[in-house]
């Protein structure tokens, strides 16, 4: 009889499984200066001196960029204790907690921008988090990995396997992504929530992508506003 534990060990030991190094985050292409293209776009988008709330701020890389380059008044939320220490070490102010705890303690319009950078796919109450974000801020910036990218599609179609790509570097049994969405899914979703995309930006393997984003982009970045429902 085969022992499941042994099978799993073999699976993990097999490099062909494409299992990434421990803790390796989703790969996102960088500009020549070494700044991730999604961060580059977000820094360009946000006006000087804005009030910014970064939900899932991680080690504070984006928030620090925004403070340094756009002089924003920023604060972050991060669930991983070790990442909070690093963000605080950058001089940032961070709330150690879960974004699913909600934002009910913030009055309406407290921020100019709420950012959900590579966070949405890990949030449980997705619609609630986004609606709350557009209650406390004028604009919501969302970036996420696109499951519709051709590389992911081909793994599913040709090999019949759940996709593991540089943008989606996790096996199904270890992924923190509790939602798998495509750019087309996201467009439908925001339309259903009555939100409007003010700007969008797509990133492929080497940099910005201008056409067929749902097929060619590894990541999508949207700037949303909720004006149409208010």
């Amino acid at each position: 009889m085969r022992r499941p534990g042994r099978e799993l060990r073999e699976l993990l030991a097999n490099p062909e499984q494409g299992r990434p190094a421990e803790g390796l985050p989703s790969r996102i292409a960088r500009d020549p200066a070494g700044v991730r293209y999604d961060h580059h776009f977000i820094v360009d988008t946000i006006e000087e001196g804005s009030r910014v709330l970064d939900l899932g701020c991680g080690r504070g890389v984006l928030l620090k960029l925004l403070v340094d380059r756009k002089n924003v008044r920023g604060t972050g939320v991060e669930i991983a204790e070790e990442k909070v220490y690093e963000a605080v070490g950058k001089g940032l102010s961070v709330y150690h907690g879960d974004i699913d705890e909600g934002l009910s303690y913030y009055p309406d319009g407290m921020f100019d921008y709420v950012i959900l950078s590579q966070t949405l796919q890990e949030a449980r109450a997705t619609a609630l988090v986004m609606c709350e974000a557009l209650r406390v801020a004028k604009h919501l910036v969302v970036s996420f990995p696109n499951f519709g990218h051709w590389r992911a599609r081909s793994q599913l179609l040709l090999r019949g396997r759940a996709p593991v790509t540089p943008a989606l570097p996790y096996q199904w049994y270890e992924t923190p992504n509790i939602h798998s969405l495509t750019i087309a899914d996201f467009r439908l979703f925001i339309a259903g929530l009555g939100m409007k995309a003010e700007r969008s930006f797509y990133i492929g393997r080497r940099g910005p992508v201008g056409f067929w984003p749902n097929l060619m982009a590894e990541h999508g970045v949207y700037v949303l506003t909720g004006d149409s429902v208010k």
Binding site: R51, T75, E81, E82, V84, Y85, E86, V88, G89, G91, L92, S93, V94, Y95, H96, G97, Y105, Y106, P107, M110
Partner: protein, 388 residues
């Protein structure tokens, strides 16, 4: 611990020898409507005040603490209660900041309290000492800070009851405080916290030696005070830390004694803690201070907790720290404080430090606290324009 954390604690050189100083005041009006007159405050300072008097930080002690936060007193073999955090190169860096710590009113470690002599009668105050509150303690500290000629505090900082005082400071004197560091604390006691305090008080009140609080010329109610301390001490530890520290180990025996002498290691530890406490603490002070803790509610006089922070300058900064295993002041209470602060658009960093030390973690977890406080104070000092 990971290498991104700031080095702190044991590696740095000590504060050295320090002496407690005393300041006298004519009168202190109290929340009860009564007043305390005269009043003496015991305090210590570490580091030096800079030329523009902008680098002062007030440290605030917990229930059983005192003015002696750091360094050594002549002949002592143990340093002050927060020595791991205060000193050259430590979180509260005495090379950069001027630290002040005073004993609270109602205390028994130099500041006027129930054990002091009432000048009107020449007798110890005992229960004739007026009931004091956390805001009263802070009002007394404000008089001390004024006396020292310090117009603004770079930070007010403390754990447990010290955290309550820090929050009271920043809401009572918002124009005087740049930042507030509040650790392992609450904005008001829950019924469970009041209940633990009441058991401690009853242990003292029911000790036959208590004698209505007039025991200063005879045997003190040490049994009651020791039991109060034992109960308190249990709430400062965690289930995990007690497993780690004692397990079910027996004390000086291989098998159960089948009697009511001491069996377990943990029993011996608590007995020792209770006895040691009676040598340095006054039973009446324990009654007064626990009452002050139970009365404390930051929303008092403001309406709601959120409104308590409404009048603060927009630049006021907060650092709130809780510990995962602290069941005396659980992290949810710190989160309530943080949400009220953030609801006012004020800058606040919050961290729940993973620790097995329970409530006592604020006195023990040097590395994480040092990292957070060092960077927090650096940003505060930078914004205030305080030189290094």
């Amino acid at each position: 611990m990971s290498d991104y954390l700031t080095e702190g604690g044991s590696a740095a050189s000590p504060v050295g020898l320090v002496e407690t100083q005393y300041a006298e005041f004519e009168v202190l009006p109290l929340d009860s409507g009564l007043q305390l007159a005269p009043l003496e405050i015991a305090y210590e300072t570490y580091g030096s005040l800079n030329a523009d008097r902008s680098n002062a930080i007030l440290l605030l002690h917990a229930l059983s603490g005192d003015a002696h936060a750091a360094g050594y007193h002549e002949g002592d073999d143990r340093p002050g209660w927060w020595d791991i955090m205060v000193g050259p190169g430590k979180a509260f860096d005495t090379d950069r900041y001027f630290l002040i710590c005073s004993n609270v009113i109602g205390g028994c470690r130099g500041t006027t309290g129930p054990a002091s002599l009432d000048p009107k009668t020449g007798q110890h105050y005992g229960m004739r000492f007026p009931v004091v509150t956390v805001p009263d303690m802070v009002r007394a500290q404000k008089m001390l800070v004024d006396r020292l000629g310090i117009p603004r505090l770079l930070a007010v900082a403390g754990g447990s009851m010290g955290g309550m005082q820090a929050l009271e400071w920043v809401t009572a004197y918002p124009e005087m405080v740049d930042s507030c560091i509040s650790i392992a604390t609450t904005h008001r006691h829950s019924p469970q916290q009041i209940a633990f305090n009441e058991v401690g008080r009853q242990a003292i009140l029911r000790d036959p030696n208590w004698c209505g609080g007039d025991y200063y010329d005879r045997t003190a109610p040490d049994a009651g005070l020791a039991i109060a301390r034992m109960i308190g001490h249990i709430t400062y530890l965690s289930d995990g830390s007690m497993h780690e520290k004692f397990g079910r180990r027996l004390r000086d025996k291989e098998v159960y004694g089948f009697d009511f002498t001491m069996d377990f290691e943990v029993e011996s530890y608590l007995k020792h803690q209770g006895e040691v406490f009676t040598q340095r603490f006054d039973a009446n002070t324990y009654l007064y201070i626990t009452k002050a803790l139970d009365y404390f509610d930051l929303a008092n006089g403001h309406g709601t907790l959120v409104e308590a922070f409404r009048e603060l300058p927009a630049e006021t900064r907060f650092l709130v720290i809780a510990f995962s295993s602290d069941w005396l002041y659980p992290p949810y209470q710190s989160k309530e404080i943080v949400r009220a602060i953030k609801g006012n658009g004020l800058d606040c960093t919050y961290l729940e430090i993973r620790s097995d030390f329970g409530h006592d973690a604020f006195l023990l977890e040097a590395q994480q606290q040092t990292h957070l406080i060092t960077h927090f104070l650096e940003v505060t000092a930078h914004r205030r324009g305080v030189g290094g």
